[in-house]
Amino acid sequence: MTAPLLEARNLRKTFSAPAGTFAMGERARVIAVEGASLDLAAGETLAIVGESGSGKTTLARMLLRLIEPDSGELLIEGRDFLAARGPALRALRREMQMVFQDPFGSLDPRMRVGAIVGEPLEIHEPQLSRAQRRDRVAEILRAVGMNEDAMTRYPHEFSGGQRQRIGIARALILRPRLVVADEPVSALDVSVGAQILELLQNLQRDFALTYLLISHSLPVVAQLATRIAVMQGGRIVETGPAEQVLGTPTHPYTQSLIAAIPVMPVEP
């Protein structure tokens, strides 16, 4: 059996919190994530679900090494990710890209869309000519359902849904294997959010992507996830196949999350 794409063992992260109003004296340590272990197999969609402060975003950032864990192990296809440095780290990093929640805050308003989407190529594939880079940008914009003439325009000229497509194009232009999507639809209108969820499903199929989905919304997670990990207070309290976690949750916290979701009286 091949090693999982990503394997995390006992990750722990604490932050220092100021003690008292003016941060005098000792600083308390706040445990953000404690004892988090999970496997991510190629091609699956693992959703990390939790409420605000549950540590889901901290965990996702550690998995990408955007922040360093205090302790624990992180393996990519069996290789030690935490020990990787320099070119080896950069090579691993291009395999994992991120889609952010806020399609307004995550795109530089002074860059044209072509430059935003093409920027990762300048870093990771500097040998490309301008024409080659332009072709790659046009190709990925078409893949996310955008017209290639978007390249010469600025982010503010687009709606929230279109900006989220631009963010997805930027994440996919390096052909990563793992995409981490942090609340990808929670800033969007319902009718547009459904477009983005459908796009993410289609892109997963077309580009053989593995997804790590961070979300507070179980109904959104239910549309994409093959497996779900539920976090509470920095710990993973329940994990399992999506149908099982949603259908027959065993942990009381998962049960209370599901019970709190407003249900429509009728199936549309």
Partner: protein, 371 residues
């Protein structure tokens, strides 16, 4: 229009709800709490005037809950601000909003009041809570003092011991645990759920303290996406609190949301808005079970549920108010569109006894029929 014009005589505008109602001795206790007639709001923008609210009419009975559902740009928040008299400078308001008098007197048209009269009503008769309590609360003021400020605005002569008593009573009513301790805290010391409870306490406090004219509560609470920023477990608690307050105080609720699941829980009736207009209205269960407007049906099919199913997104984007199509605003995104949809905006048509939809595909047409 003068303060306290008789019902049924609204000048030149024909009020759909009041047509035929000519009796001046009409009993306001059984009448609607709010009758909104043909409300239009116009706002200046660099791209020209826009109409975030376009010819909107509805009634809200005492104790009733109306869910105003819509996506961004549908005008639902502007409608709330118009009712509160808190529109941004430069906004133009057309139409009428008739608020029933609390002690059986004459109705008043909110839009014809002076600013001073408006201030007396705002907070006492009509109160509002907002999506993000952290930005609505003053960060450098203890929450108890903020609630006291709302009380004093309407009851300037109250002794401070009395004000303090009302502050604690308001926090208790909003189910804030340990109200005396919480009243001394600042907003940043409270969780999101507690902040929203403080907002609710503040919204109810002014009316509760000004026991004049025999009534003692705000009669209408406008809640603009009050749970959108909250976790689901906290959202559930806030929705339960609002339901209890409605029951205990006979409070009418205008609940603004984009979430069809939430609206199904809180609303007796639903009005779906799109590009500034109501496109469908009716009893909540009926609208959700048998949507008559393609937009409502599309929203339902696009809303994720706990069960995995094929989502059917609505193609395209919510239209910009600066570039609305000439016909039906939903026509460019509608799968059922016909040629005539591009020519004119359809009227609201009856789709059932209390159910109306703004679509030419709705069969039974009876304009002006009583609802």
């Amino acid at each position: 229009m003068a303060f306290g014009t008789f019902h049924g005589r609204h000048g030149d505008t024909i009020c759909r709800f009041c047509a035929g109602e000519q009796n001046p001795s009409y009993d306001v206790r059984v009448s609607a709490l709010i009758e909104l007639c043909n409300l239009t709001v116009e706002l200046p923008t660099p791209a020209g005037w826009i109409r975030p609210v376009d010819d909107v009419s509805f009634t809200l009975q005492t104790g009733e809950s109306l869910g105003l559902v819509g996506e961004s740009g549908s005008g639902k928040s502007m409608l709330a601000l118009a009712l509160m008299g808190l529109l941004p400078p430069g906004a133009k308001v057309f139409g009428e909003a008739w608020l029933a008098n609390a002690n059986g007197g004459l109705r008043v048209n909110l839009f014809a009041l002076t600013e001073r009269e408006r201030i007396a009503i705002r907070g006492r008769d009509i109160a509002m809570i907002f999506q993000e309590p952290m930005t609505a609360l003053n960060p450098v003021m203890r929450v108890g003092a903020q609630i006291a400020e709302a009380i004093r605005a309407h009851s300037a002569n109250l002794a401070s011991a009395e004000v303090d008593r009302h502050v604690l009573a308001a926090l208790e009513r909003a189910a804030v645990p340990d109200p005396a301790m919480r009243a001394r805290q600042y907003p940043h010391q409270l969780s999101g759920g507690l902040r929203q409870r403080v907002m609710i306490a503040m919204a109810l406090a002014a009316g509760a303290a000004s026991i004049t004219n025999g009534h003692c509560e705000p009669r209408l609470l406008i809640a603009d996406e009050p749970t959108t920023a909250l976790d689901v477990t906290v959202q559930k608690q806030i929705l339960e609190l609002l339901a209890r307050l409605r029951r205990d105080l006979g409070l009418a609720l205008l609940f603004i949301t984009h979430d069809l699941g939430v609206v199904a829980q809180v609303a007796d009736r639903i009005a779906v808005t799109y590009a500034g207009r109501i496109v469908e209205e009716g009893p909540a269960r009926e609208v959700l079970a048998h949507p008559q407007h393609p937009y409502t049906a599309g929203l339902l099919r696009a809303s994720p549920q706990l069960v995995r199913r094929k989502l059917e997104p609505i193609p395209g984007n919510v239209p910009s108010l600066t570039a609305l199509p000439t016909g039906c605003a939903f026509e460019p995104r509608c799968a059922l569109r016909r040629d005539e949809c591009t020519t004119a905006m359809p009227e609201l048509r009856n789709a059932g006894p209390e159910h109306r939809a703004r679509c030419i595909l709705v069969d039974c047409v009876s304009p002006g029929a009583a609802i």
